[in-house]
Symmetry: C2
Subunit: 222 residues, 2 copies
């Protein structure tokens, strides 16, 4: 990386970019993102499936997960269905279905189900109103908890409680870590780039190195 | 994946798990995450550096980025510094520095800089109060905009405006997409697992396939 030129853009430079160019650029800056399919239904049993790259861990106790919804986009069917029924599913995406998953972002009419349009299979599990994606290896059944309006740019943070988790048993590690790479889950960057992963390592819980931490203060414990 | 057993956990099952086991498990469910170092300083010029795996794209126009802060964790120095000075840096992590980056999560005293403790280099750029990480290939200078309290579990969504971007020029594509894989940025999963990536592909902007979309409605355009 040392041989390449470093380049700089200011806020004013960013605001001067053409809109789609800026969207592609700024969407790249937040790093690799989770990518998943959110399945919903309305009270008329019309199903909807949409890809989201804005999932975020909110908390483990209780198990809460969030995502960002943009009212001006195709996400709007997802949000209105969630508010109507109170439930939704979050389904991990793997290499074999990411192209179908991406296709759910097309602007289909409200009476067209993205399940039909993309040939992904709606999986209704007992006691849960929203459809899971049958082809997905890790499936979450989520109950809507809180809608937080982000007034600065008219987006919405949707928070839900994880009520159901389906996962491959051989991906669960001894300490509770679920090996989503082994389950073939993928990641994305920007608006349209999909990536598989290779583990570098799992690192131990970090503790202060007394010697390093105190060196600066002038006393080193030996 | 077909040959493995699918396993199921309910909300009650999740709540019954031992705390650290549950944290490891639930942190895996949101998929692959961005991972970056946030650099700050307080008004006494004491620097702080902390790893975050909760970055989230908020919007491109204006360029806004968010992250989740947990008041009960080591993140607290980051949040208090951001509120005190109004500025912070977000620095991508690559393979050569991820172990040092992870080490910043140790609970150092407030008077110990994680820059010193981890041997990462504070890079003060002209006209910006918060320190960048010199070793990082993609560096963002961010201005604090909004703090949103997530009352359901006492976490905070911190939103900032991207005022400065430094990046390798050879990673910028024609359409504005920044190739963060080429810049060696990595991703993480769970609490402690780090991964490099391999691009599957970039997909085109999705448009409805008329034939598929209307097939279900009984009329197919030819």
């Amino acid at each position: 990386m040392e041989s390449t030129t470093q380049r700089y853009l200011s806020f004013v430079d960013l605001m001067g970019l053409e809109q789609r160019y800026r969207a592609a650029f700024v969407n790249s800056l937040s790093g690799f993102k989770s990518v998943a399919l959110i399945g919903t239904t309305n009270n008329l049993k019309q199903t909807n499936l949409a890809i989201f790259n804005s999932l975020i861990h909110i908390g483990a106790n209780p198990p809460y997960i969030g995502f960002i919804s943009r009212p001006d986009s195709v996400d709007r069917h997802t949000l209105s269905n969630i508010i109507e029924t109170g439930f939704y599913t979050i389904n991990h995406i793997h290499e074999e279905i990411y192209q179908q998953a991406h296709q759910t972002s097309a602007r289909y009419d409200k009476d067209v189900s993205e399940f039909d349009a993309t040939k992904l299979t709606a999986d209704f599990k007992k006691g849960f109103v929203a459809p899971f994606v049958k082809e997905s290896h890790i499936q979450l059944g989520v109950q809507f908890k809180e809608r937080i309006n982000i007034t600065t740019n008219n987006t919405v943070l949707v928070i839900g409680q994880i009520n159901q988790v389906y996962f491959p048993n051989n991906c669960l590690c001894e300490d509770g870590f679920l090996d989503i790479e082994k389950a073939k889950s993928i990641t994305c960057s920007g608006l349209d780039s999909y990536h598989s992963t290779s583990r570098l390592s799992r690192l131990k819980y970090a503790k202060p190195n007394i010697e390093t931490a105190h060196a600066k203060l002038g006393y080193i414990e030996k």
